[in-house]
C-alpha cells in the first residue's frame, strides 16, 4: 500500500484515543446523573395574540405564580423544577394542534394546559388522548372537551362547563329580569354550538321559550340584522355567547338600535378588552365567572394576590388583575397537577392520569377540592362555584346581586 494511503493511526496515538473514549464514557455516565435534576416541562397552548390575548396572559400568570411557589418549596419528584413552555395558538385550531404536537414531541412536556378557545381545545383533545398526555383545560368551556367519550380520558378541566353554565345563565335571566322568552346570540363555531345545545335543553327544562337562535362570525361588525330578527320574534332578553371583539359589536349594535334588552353573557367577553371595544353598553352586561379577586378573600386568595403583586409590579390591586378567571383557574389547576405528579412518582402520562384521582384534599383558591376529579367527573368546578358579575366603566369586574 502506498505510504500516503496508509492509516495514520500508529501505536503512539492509541493512548490519546483511549483517553478520549474514557472521557466520553465518563460524560455519558455523568449526564445520566444530571438527568435526575432535569426540569419537568409543563406546556401551555393558548391565545397569546389577537382579541383574547388578555386571556393567554392571565393564564400564564396563574401558572407562573403557582410554578414559582412550587419550585420555591423544592419542586417535584425530589428536586426537579417545573418549567413553563408556552405556544401561541392565535385562536386558530390548526395552529393549536401544531403547537400541541410540538410541545408533546419536541419539548416532551409532562402535561399540557389549554386556553380560552373551545375550538382549539376540541382539536387538541384527540391528540392528548392518543399520545396519553394529560391535557388540562383552564378556560375553554365546551362540554365536549372533557366529556369526549374516550376511555381512558386524559382530559381534565378546572373551569366552567357549558352545559352547567347554560342552566345558570337562564336561571339568572329569569330570576333577575323576569325573562320568559330569551333570544340567543351565538358565535358561529363549535363553542357556540356547544352552548346552543346546552341552552336549548336548559330552556326546555326550565319552561322558557327561546325566541330565536341567531349566529354571527368573529369578524362581523354589524349584528343589527340578527338582533332585529330576535326583537321581531318577541325576545325579552339576550343570552350572548362570544369572545370580546364580536360581543362588543353585538353590544354596539344594540346601542345603535336603541333596544334596551338585558344581556346575560357567557364569559368569553372577559378574555379581551370588552369595555374598551364595546362602549357604554358594555357595563350593562351580566356575565359568569368562577372567581373574583374583589371582596373578602380566603387565605389562599390573599396569598395569590400577594404573589401576583410581587411577580407583576403593574398589579397593585384586584382591579389590575386582568381576565381573573384565567389566573384563578390556572393557579388551582397547576397546584392540583403538581400534587398528581408527586403522587404518581413519575412524569409518565398514564401514571399522572391515574394520580389525578388520588390528589386528595386541596384547599385551593376557588374552593376546597376533595377530590378534584373522579373517574366519572373530570370537571373540578360545578354550578356552586360560579358568580355573576359585570364590568364597571373602568373595566373592573365586580359581582352583581342575584345569583
Amino acid at each position: 500500500m502506498p505510504s500516503a494511503l496508509r492509516s495514520k493511526t500508529t501505536t503512539r496515538s492509541w493512548p490519546a484515543l483511549t483517553m478520549l473514549t474514557m472521557t466520553l464514557v465518563a460524560l455519558a455516565l455523568g449526564t445520566g446523573s444530571i438527568q435526575a435534576a432535569d426540569p419537568v416541562k409543563i406546556g401551555l397552548v393558548a391565545a397569546l395574540s389577537g382579541q383574547s390575548a388578555a386571556s393567554g396572559e392571565a393564564i400564564t400568570r396563574g401558572l407562573t405564580v403557582a410554578i414559582d411557589e412550587i419550585n420555591a418549596k423544592g419542586g417535584v419528584l425530589g428536586g426537579r423544577m417545573l418549567e413553563l413552555v408556552r405556544r401561541d395558538d392565535e385562536s386558530n385550531p390548526s395552529k393549536g394542534v401544531t403547537a400541541a404536537r410540538e410541545l408533546i414531541f419536541k419539548e416532551q412536556v409532562a402535561a399540557l394546559f389549554g386556553g380560552i378557545d373551545s375550538p382549539v381545545s376540541l382539536a387538541i383533545v384527540p391528540i392528548a388522548n392518543a399520545e396519553k398526555k394529560p391535557f388540562i383545560g383552564v378556560w375553554a368551556a365546551a362540554t365536549g372537551i372533557t366529556r369526549n367519550g374516550a376511555n381512558p380520558n386524559y382530559v381534565f378541566r378546572v373551569s366552567a362547563v357549558d352545559v352547567i353554565v347554560d342552566k345558570g345563565l337562564l336561571q339568572y335571566a329569569a330570576k333577575t329580569y323576569g325573562a320568559k322568552k330569551p333570544g340567543l346570540m351565538l358565535i358561529n363555531n363549535p363553542w357556540g354550538e356547544s352552548n346552543n345545545d346546552g341552552l336549548t335543553k336548559a330552556a326546555a327544562a326550565q319552561g322558557l321559550a327561546i325566541a330565536g337562535v341567531e349566529k354571527f362570525q368573529t369578524e362581523d361588525v354589524d349584528m343589527v340584522p340578527q338582533l332585529s330578527r330576535l326583537k321581531e320574534a318577541g325576545a325579552d332578553s339576550i343570552i350572548l355567547v362570544a369572545n370580546a371583539a364580536p360581543a362588543a359589536q353585538v353590544v354596539r349594535s344594540l346601542d345603535r338600535m336603541g333596544w334596551a334588552a338585558p344581556v346575560i353573557s357567557h364569559w368569553g367577553i372577559s378574555g379581551g378588552r370588552f369595555v374598551e371595544l364595546g362602549g357604554p353598553g358594555a357595563s350593562k352586561v351580566a356575565f359568569v365567572q368562577t372567581y373574583s379577586f374583589f371582596g373578602e378573600q380566603n387565605p389562599r386568595g390573599k396569598h395569590v394576590l400577594e404573589l401576583l403583586m410581587k411577580r407583576y409590579p403593574q398589579v397593585k390591586s384586584p382591579a389590575d388583575v386582568i381576565a381573573p378567571v384565567g389566573t384563578a383557574n390556572a393557579y388551582d389547576a397547576m397546584q392540583i397537577l403538581a400534587r398528581a405528579i408527586q403522587a404518581a412518582g413519575a412524569t409518565d402520562g398514564p401514571k399522572v392520569r391515574e394520580a389525578m384521582y388520588k390528589v386528595g384534599r386541596y384547599e385551593g383558591l376557588i374552593k376546597t377540592y376533595d377530590p378534584a376529579f373522579t373517574a366519572d367527573n373530570h370537571d373540578a368546578l360545578n354550578e356552586n362555584d360560579y358568580v355573576m358579575v359585570r364590568y364597571t366603566d373602568k373595566g373592573e369586574i365586580v359581582p352583581v346581586k342575584g345569583k
Binding site: Q51, V224, M257, L277
Partner: protein, 290 residues
C-alpha cells in the same frame, strides 16, 4: 327597518372601499402602477391616529392632520424606494415589491401597536340618531360625504386644472409629457402621496366603527382592489361607484342570508360583472383626449 340599516352600513363600508380604490386609480392613471398593499396604508392611518390621539392624547384635529401627513410621506417612500427602481428597469416586479412592503408594515405594526385589537373612541359614535327606525351614527353620514367629496374634488382637479391635466397627460405618453414640460417623476410621486392619503383618510374614518388592529387592512385592501377592477381602473367615478355597490351588496347579503355567505357572494358577483363589462362599469377601451 332591516334593509335601511343594511343600506346605511353598506354605503359607509362601500365608501371606504371607494376611497381605497381611488388610490389605486390615481396611481394607475398616472403611472400604470399601483400600491397593491393599499389595505396596509389604511391600517397605517388607523394605527397612527390611535397612537397619537388615544395613546398620546393629542387633540383630534392635530392628530388627524399629522396622521395624514405621515401617510403621505409613506406613499412618497413607496414610490421612490419600491416602485421607481423596478419601473426604471422596465420590470413588473413593483407589484410584488409593494405587496412585500405591505406585509412588512403589517408586521411592524404588530410589534409596535401590539397584538390585540383596540377600540377607537370618537365623538361621532357616541350617540345615535334614529332615522325611520334604524340607528345611525353621525359617522355613518360623514363617511359617504367625505368619500364622494374626495372623488368629486379629484374629478374637478383633473379636468379643470393644469396640474390635473398634466397628471393625465403623463400616462398618455411620458415622452410627450416631458417635452411639454411636465415632470413625470413628480407627477408619479404626487399620485402615490395622494393614494396613501386617501387610504389614511379611509382608515381614520372607519376606525371608530370597527376595531383597530395590525391586520385590519388586509381584507379591506383586497375588496377595494376588486371594486377598482370592477369599476374600471381608469375611471375615478367608476371605482367609487363600484366600491359603494360592493359595500351595499355585502351588507344586503349579510342581512338577508347571513354573514357566512357574504364573502362568497360579494366576490362571486364580481366575476360575471367583469364578464359582461370587461373594462369595468365606467371604464372604456382606447385613448382619451386630454
Amino acid at each position: 327597518m332591516l334593509i335601511l340599516s343594511a343600506l346605511i352600513t353598506g354605503v359607509a363600508t362601500g365608501s371606504m372601499y371607494g376611497l381605497l380604490a381611488l388610490g389605486f386609480h390615481v396611481t394607475w392613471a398616472v403611472s400604470r402602477t399601483v400600491n397593491f398593499a393599499q389595505g396596509s396604508s389604511m391600517m397605517l392611518g388607523a394605527v397612527l391616529l390611535y397612537g397619537l390621539a388615544v395613546t398620546h392624547g393629542w387633540p383630534g384635529a392635530v392628530a388627524v392632520a399629522v396622521t395624514l401627513g405621515l401617510c403621505g410621506a409613506y406613499g412618497l417612500a413607496i414610490e421612490r424606494c419600491v416602485v421607481r427602481p423596478f419601473v426604471a428597469r422596465r420590470s413588473d416586479a413593483w407589484l410584488m415589491a409593494t405587496v412585500a412592503v405591505g406585509i412588512v408594515l403589517d408586521n411592524v405594526a404588530l410589534f409596535t401597536f401590539g397584538k390585540e385589537p383596540r377600540g377607537m373612541p370618537s365623538p361621532l359614535t357616541r350617540h345615535t340618531v334614529q332615522v325611520l327606525g334604524a340607528g345611525v351614527y353621525p359617522l355613518h353620514l360623514l363617511i359617504p360625504a367625505v368619500g364622494l367629496g374626495i372623488a368629486a374634488a379629484l374629478a374637478l382637479v383633473t379636468r379643470y386644472t393644469v396640474y390635473g391635466k398634466a397628471l393625465l397627460a403623463v400616462v398618455q405618453s411620458p415622452q410627450a409629457a416631458r417635452l411639454i414640460g411636465v415632470r413625470v417623476e413628480t407627477a408619479t410621486s404626487a399620485a402615490y402621496v395622494l393614494s396613501t392619503i386617501f387610504a389614511g383618510v379611509a382608515g381614520v374614518l372607519i376606525a371608530p366603527l370597527v376595531t383597530v388592529s395590525a391586520g385590519m387592512g388586509w381584507v379591506f385592501g383586497i375588496k377595494a382592489f376588486a371594486a377598482a377592477i370592477l369599476g374600471g381602473l381608469d375611471s375615478a367615478w367608476g371605482v367609487v361607484v363600484a366600491g359603494i355597490l360592493f359595500g351595499l351588496t355585502e351588507a344586503l347579503v349579510t342581512t338577508l342570508l347571513g354573514s357566512t355567505y357574504t364573502n362568497i357572494l360579494s366576490f362571486g358577483i364580481v366575476i360575471p360583472a367583469l364578464a359582461l363589462m370587461p373594462h369595468g362599469l365606467l371604464g372604456r377601451a382606447g385613448a382619451q383626449r386630454v
